[in-house]
């Protein structure tokens, strides 16, 4: 739904335009700062250290959760991988069924009509411009 009777002098519109411009300028300034190797390299090192600490914490948390018989992140990741394999298996079945339907349609006139309906003629032309 379009804004109600907002015009260029509307305080709300002025605020929105200023906000968008401001964010863009701040983001650009921060991006330029992050590109500087004097900022990027120490930041990279810090992120590596944070990653190391995160890994240590994750290992500690896993041991603690296991002692309470609660699932840890790595347990959920294993579950996620199993679900991913299941999904891939289902997709394989779907693709095989699709192939089977096409094969059967090629042999059966009754099924061919349905298949044909799903395959319109390739005769389309772009609209002519006057």
């Amino acid at each position: 739904m379009p804004s109600r009777d907002f015009n260029a002098l509307s305080p709300v519109q002025i605020w929105r335009d200023w906000f968008v411009q401001c964010e863009s300028q701040w983001s650009e300034a921060l991006t330029q700062l992050l590109k500087d190797p004097r900022v990027g390299e120490p930041l990279n090192r810090q992120l590596s250290e944070v990653q190391f600490m995160h890994r240590q914490f994750a290992e500690f948390a896993q041991a603690s959760l296991a002692s309470f018989n609660l699932p840890s992140r790595s347990d959920l990741e294993v579950l996620d991988e199993r679900m991913g394999r299941l999904e891939d298996g289902l997709a394989q079945v779907a693709a095989a069924l699709s192939d089977l339907r096409r094969t059967l349609a090629a042999r059966s006139p009754a099924l061919a009509a349905d298949e044909q309906a799903a395959r319109p003629a390739r005769t389309r032309r772009p609209a002519q411009k006057d």
Binding site: V20, N44, E81, R85, D88, A95, R122, P126
Partner: protein, 355 residues
């Protein structure tokens, strides 16, 4: 619930109306965005986590040349098929294109050694072959987005005239890493990608997400404040929630591909230097001779112009065009701006070349 209702009644009118429109406090925010990627399709081919989908035609006749959409490796493909009325796929179907799409899928630990050769020389050509077999045609058009665009360009540059390619459309495809200054700075010689891959196998989705967010440091906060600014517009709220769901739904980066992207693309800039070798052959942009359209976003912070303009400059096509539209990296392909600007331009260009 009664106290919440009483509170609603006591609030100033605009706030109450906004909250009611948002459906709070009883609404499910996920339900506000609705199910995503629901344009009817069937899976016609799979390979590992890869799924090739064929969308059901929505016209009585279609263009002769089928279209294969190649999506990014690190994002869910439903950005191109958000909801009815906000779907590039649906738009193309209604304009009479026969549309297929590659969904790369989420790589697992056993896929960490998948490399660019697997994608560019095996999976993508296999999907092309399936599309041609399924459609009964001898050539196809490719529409490729972001990293998907780089994959499609590599394939076309390696295959040259042997590729059964009629048209190539890229959307914000990076080809020159000198234009990706931020990523080059962060993943330069001091970045230890092997340590990251040794720990995780594939690059975790959260890592990818944070790297993309860091390209626009205040973007997340600005998005939230912008949402508050326009909380009285229901469709803006819904659109924001949809984009938000997609933005947090990243896919892990296959380890082998990440290694090659960092070494050969980001650090080596091998594509524009003409030294990128895959499967014993060197990718040459000049070998792309098919009609080429490169759609770019004016305010693209993920694929800045400096990283993408060389595609049209260096491609060997005689029929080639670069079109820059208003908006950002995601707004180029999805949202109201894309619906008004990019999609019609894509239709106008591709329809003439699909008969």
């Amino acid at each position: 619930m009664r106290s919440a209702q009483a509170l609603l009644g006591a609030l100033p009118h605009p706030v109450q109306r906004t909250l009611e429109r948002l459906g709070l406090p009883a609404a499910d925010l996920a339900a506000l965005s609705g199910p995503l990627g629901v344009t009817p399709k069937e899976t016609i081919y799979t390979q590992g986590t890869l799924k090739l989908h064929h969308f059901r035609p929505q016209c009585d006749s279609v263009y002769r040349v089928p279209v294969l959409i190649v999506t990014s490796l690190v994002n869910q493909p439903y950005i191109l098929d958000l909801v009815p009325g906000q779907s590039m796929v649906e738009f193309l179907l209604k304009r009479g294109f026969d549309v297929y799409m590659i969904e790369w899928g989420r790589p697992r630990k056993e896929h960490q050694n998948l490399c660019l050769e697997d994608h560019v020389l095996d999976r993508l050509p296999a999907c092309v072959k399936q599309v041609l077999s399924h459609s009964g045609q001898k050539e196809l058009s490719i529409i490729a987005y972001c990293i998907g665009g780089l994959l499609a360009v590599l394939w076309a540059a390696l295959a040259g005239r042997r590729a059964p390619l009629k048209n190539l459309v890229c959307m914000a495809a990076p080809v020159n890493s000198d234009g990706l200054q931020s990523l080059k700075a962060w993943m330069g010689p001091n970045f230890d990608e092997e340590a990251l891959l040794a720990r995780h196998g594939n690059v975790p989705a959260e890592w990818v997400q944070n790297a993309l967010r860091a390209l626009r440091p205040l973007g997340k906060m600005a998005g939230a404040l912008s949402l508050l600014n326009q909380a009285d517009q229901t469709e803006v709220v819904r659109s924001h929630l949809r984009m938000g769901r997609w933005e947090t739904d990243n896919i892990p980066f296959p380890g082998g591909v990440f290694r090659q992207m960092v070494r050969d693309f980001l650090r080596g800039n091998a594509l524009v230097r003409g030294t990128w070798s895959l499967g014993g052959h060197t990718a040459d942009l000049a070998a792309i001779e098919v009609p080429l359209l490169h759609l770019l976003a004016q305010d693209d912070h993920v694929t800045p112009y400096g990283s993408s303009r060389d595609l049209v400059l260096r491609a060997g096509s005689r029929d080639k065009q670069e079109l820059i539209v208003k908006g950002g990296h995601v707004g180029l392909v999805a949202g109201r701006g894309a619906e008004l600007r990019m999609w019609p331009a894509l239709d106008a260009w591709l329809s003439l070349r699909s008969v």
